[in-house]
Symmetry: C2
Subunit: 201 residues, 2 copies
């Protein structure tokens, strides 16, 4: 570290993202449509080589888009930039509410094209999001070679402690198909592997 190194973090959503999203503005999205968008974003992200095969969308209680994001780990060089983390953060920026329970037209819902990893699951209660809707399951993610990390014993149900509602298997087949495609194309798994895969355990 030197005196000239930056003391700020910046992450830009990709250029294709800004031109893709506007057609979804001002249209109320139901669960299936919001998930379709999250899945479409995950597929676009692969096509554009801008990150891993994951997308996330946040809507308000009227179904209007509040934020959306894709996984940017490889393009940003920052391992926290999972789709869910960025979508929650953009929702806080767009609404001006640290606690999304206080956002206009709350409660807000997070749509994730795939089950959140341990980090993202841990981040959810701190955001004030009220509902988490999931496409692909952990076993579908494993097909693409990604480790989900070590989650609490209760898994997704751990969110109930904060009154957060969880809906799984929404458009699961379409979400899982994107992950299977990624695997077939030999898509990069950019995580440091656990020891057993390093041949040390």
């Amino acid at each position: 570290m030197s005196h000239t190194q930056p003391w700020f973090v910046q992450v830009n959503l990709p250029k294709w993202f800004e031109s893709y999203l506007p057609s979804y503005l001002g249209i109320p999205l139901d669960d299936a449509h919001a998930m379709d968008l999250a899945i479409a974003l995950s597929a676009k992200n692969i096509q554009h080589h801008t990150g891993g095969p994951f997308g996330a969308v946040i809507t308000n209680s009227h179904g209007f888009l509040v934020a959306a994001a894709v996984n940017l780990v490889t393009s940003s060089g920052q391992s926290w930039t999972h789709a869910e983390m960025l979508a929650l953060t953009l929702a806080q920026i767009h609404t001006g509410c640290l606690d999304l329970r206080k956002a206009p037209l709350a409660p807000l819902s997070l749509y994730s094209s795939a089950e959140p990893c341990a980090m993202c699951l841990g981040a959810v209660p701190w955001s004030g999001i009220a509902r988490v809707v999931i496409g692909a399951r952990e076993e579908d993610i494993l097909v693409a070679g990604f480790d989900e990390g070590d989650k609490p014993a209760l898994g997704l149900a751990s969110l109930h402690r904060w009154g957060i509602v969880v809906n799984a298997d929404v458009q699961r087949q379409a979400a899982a198909a994107v992950l299977a495609d990624y695997a077939r194309q030999g898509g990069a798994v950019y995580q440091p592997p656990p020891l057993r895969e390093q041949g040390c355990e």
Copy 2:
């Protein structure tokens, strides 16, 4: 969400931070000194009202500073900006390595003034950090009113799956004292509370 809302995330470390850090550059820090710095940052963060009572430091194998950060949740309005998350991200930015195992003078160590919450614990394996050193324990954090979230059954030992070494109780008393001070001063607890504290469970 409108057409004019930003599609990027930015987090700036506070102004006081940049003037405080340079005296630590170019001096090799042992475990006690690196933790002293993380704790000093946590205390400074309270004094300056720039966030919660948490600091984090990252050093390389020679003990030189690679990155440092404080909790910026209240000042950034972004709930992911815990000290550990920002320190890991700044280390990736400063070294240019998404996988910190490949950083110059790796392996790298993370010093956290207090035990990482569920989100930060989940983030650690994705960063490539090799070692996590902890000051205050979860019970010291509870004194200040903060919930740590739901962690895996193995707790910190879950990191062993990635070969990550954990050292706890380094300067614990000094770290816990900062948290106790924060509680005495009536420092803000900015997390959405679990249901039982909302009187609904």
